[in-house]
């Protein structure tokens, strides 16, 4: 589904990603692991077009993502739930969801999509008139995921969904991720919470200072000394 080949990217003179090749197949949940500053967020920003790649190739279902404008990447079926959620704080929950359905394809089916995400996350329906910025962190994460689903994506990019949340809420957020997987969405997730994320992922890539250091099934990475030592403190 998603294929990256020798991708380079950076900010100004600083290169953040070196020669990154990876793929995500339909129906998979793939995790990207790595320390702070390893380039995980940059990787997702490159895929969704927020940051242009400086080299390499990137395709979604055979369509080159580097050839299309950033705001058209959603139309290719990729929805990005950004780091720290980035809801529109002074818009209502429902207006945030409306923004998620901005593309023409999604507008046509707005009512249907809205019923669908409210069915998936009933507590959002109760709060649909509330300003998004006044909700708790966990609810905001739910709203951010729902907003991404409104575009009718095939692939959902999740950037640190558990960041800044209380431990009990973290468990709930991973439950949300499990639920959207069960709905058939393909997921690419970036997380520092390695133990948790490897429980829901099929495969994982380990990113270190901008390069892919290791990859394999979740079980393999969970068993590898490299991951255990560096990220799980064992």
């Amino acid at each position: 589904m998603l294929q990256l080949t020798n991708i380079d990217a950076g900010y100004g003179g600083f290169q953040a990603l070196f020669d990154v090749s990876m793929k995500v197949d339909a129906g998979e949940a793939v995790a990207v692991l790595g320390a702070n500053g390893a380039g995980k967020t940059t990787l997702l920003r490159v895929i969704s077009g927020l940051l242009p790649a400086s080299g390499g190739a990137m395709t979604m279902d055979g369509v080159s993502l580097r050839a299309i404008a950033p705001h058209r990447i959603v139309e290719a079926g990729i929805a990005h739930v950004p780091e720290s959620r980035r809801l529109f704080p002074r818009l209502s929950v429902e207006s945030n969801l409306k923004m998620g359905a901005f593309i023409p394809e999604a507008r046509k089916r707005f009512g249907e999509r809205l019923d669908y995400v409210y069915g998936l996350f009933p507590s959002l329906k109760e709060r649909r008139r509330q300003l998004a910025g006044t909700m708790s962190g966990g609810e905001q994460q739910m709203c951010a995921i729902a907003r991404a689903l409104m575009s009718g994506p095939k692939l959902v990019l999740l950037d640190e969904p558990s960041m800044g949340l209380a431990p009990v809420v973290v468990a709930q957020v991973f439950e949300l991720v499990r639920r959207i997987r069960a709905e058939g969405y393909t997921v690419l997730i970036v997380e520092q919470n390695v133990a948790q994320v490897l429980k829901i992922a099929d495969r994982a890539y380990l990113l270190e200072v901008g390069r892919i250091k290791a990859s394999g099934s979740a079980a393999e990475l969970l068993a590898s000394d490299e991951v255990r030592k560096a990220y799980m403190g064992i």
């Binding site: 969704s48 077009g49 927020l50 404008a69 950033p70 705001h71 058209r72 990447i73 959603v74 139309e75 929805a79 990005h80 950004p82 980035r86 529109f88 704080p89 002074r90 818009l91 207006s95 409306k98 923004m99 998620g100 359905a101 901005f102 593309i103 999604a106 507008r107 575009s151």
Partner: protein, 289 residues
């Protein structure tokens, strides 16, 4: 001239409210553009001036007033989009002072161009609507109509901003510019649409003002500082704040004008503005932290 709480005082207050409708409409356009694009159109009142000439000459050429007004609104909406495309877009990432200077340049360019094209004479569209008399008070129908249409225009904008996708994007963009592409929103298009709407509001104001005021190339100087002051008082970019501030300022002008002289009304209003800059520089209603 003396100040008593008599029927003439009430007349002044009510006329102040009627004036507030127009000022609120004028402030709304400027606030909308600033709230979305983060650039102040210092030349906003000059767009209104150009619109007034456009309507005046369309009417003179034989168009019925409503058609002339419609032409004026479209003309200034196009001018707003053009202003964004040609002048604002190249300086979007420049320092705010440069953005002010360049729109200030447009202000004087439009004034000079209008003087050359239309001359310095005062022109009047020549439509007299008469006035309504209640008790001993008199209210020009042109002012009443202006107030009603301005409110309707603001209501229409509010419906657009809350009900449509583009309107929601316009409200969203100032809250988080960077992630707009993730929603599939082309930021440049939102800016262009906002500029056209801001221009359209100036055109609507122009259509209402030709019924009340003579047209001359410097009419922008009469309204420009007033509009800008109202926007700052309400908190730049805060559309509701601007609405309330328009009512506050027009009462200063109306009551001051009734008790002393119109010039005193303006002087007191600007004095109040200066004091408020000292005590509440973020505007009467703090919009953003």
């Amino acid at each position: 001239m003396d100040c008593q709480l008599d029927i003439f005082f009430l007349e002044a207050v009510l006329n102040g409210i009627l004036l507030a409708g127009l000022l609120a409409l004028l402030a709304l356009g400027l606030n909308l553009v600033f709230g979305v694009i983060d650039v102040v159109w210092i030349c906003y009142a000059e767009l209104v001036m150009v619109g007034m000439y456009g309507i005046h000459y369309s009417h003179k050429a034989g168009a019925p007033f409503l058609l002339a007004a419609f032409i004026g609104i479209l003309l200034i909406a196009a001018a707003g989009a053009l202003l964004h495309y040609l002048v604002i877009r190249p300086v979007l990432d420049s320092a705010p002072i440069n953005q002010l200077l360049v729109t200030g340049g447009v202000l004087f360019f439009l004034q000079a161009a209008a003087t050359m094209a239309f001359g310095v004479e005062f022109r009047n569209i020549g439509i007299r609507l008469g006035s309504a008399n209640v008790l001993d008070m008199s209210f020009a129908w042109s002012r009443i109509l202006t107030f009603a249409v301005a409110l309707a225009g603001m209501l229409a904008l509010w419906l657009f901003l809350t009900r449509t996708y583009m309107g929601t994007a316009i409200r969203a963009i100032s809250q988080d510019r960077q992630i707009m592409p993730l929603m599939g929103v082309d930021q440049r298009k939102v800016y262009l649409v906002t500029s056209a709407i801001g221009g359209g509001l100036a055109g609507l104001a122009a259509a209402l003002m030709v019924l009340q005021y003579d047209i001359y190339p410097q009419i922008g100087l009469q309204f420009g500082p007033l509009i800008f002051m109202i926007c700052v008082l309400g908190g730049l970019g805060n559309m509701i704040g601007g609405f309330v501030a328009a009512f506050v300022i027009s009462q200063f002008i109306a009551i001051g004008g009734s008790c002393f002289a119109t010039e005193w009304g303006y002087a007191i209003a600007f004095l109040f503005f200066m004091v408020m800059i000292f005590v509440r520089p973020q505007g009467l209603f703090a919009a953003k932290s």
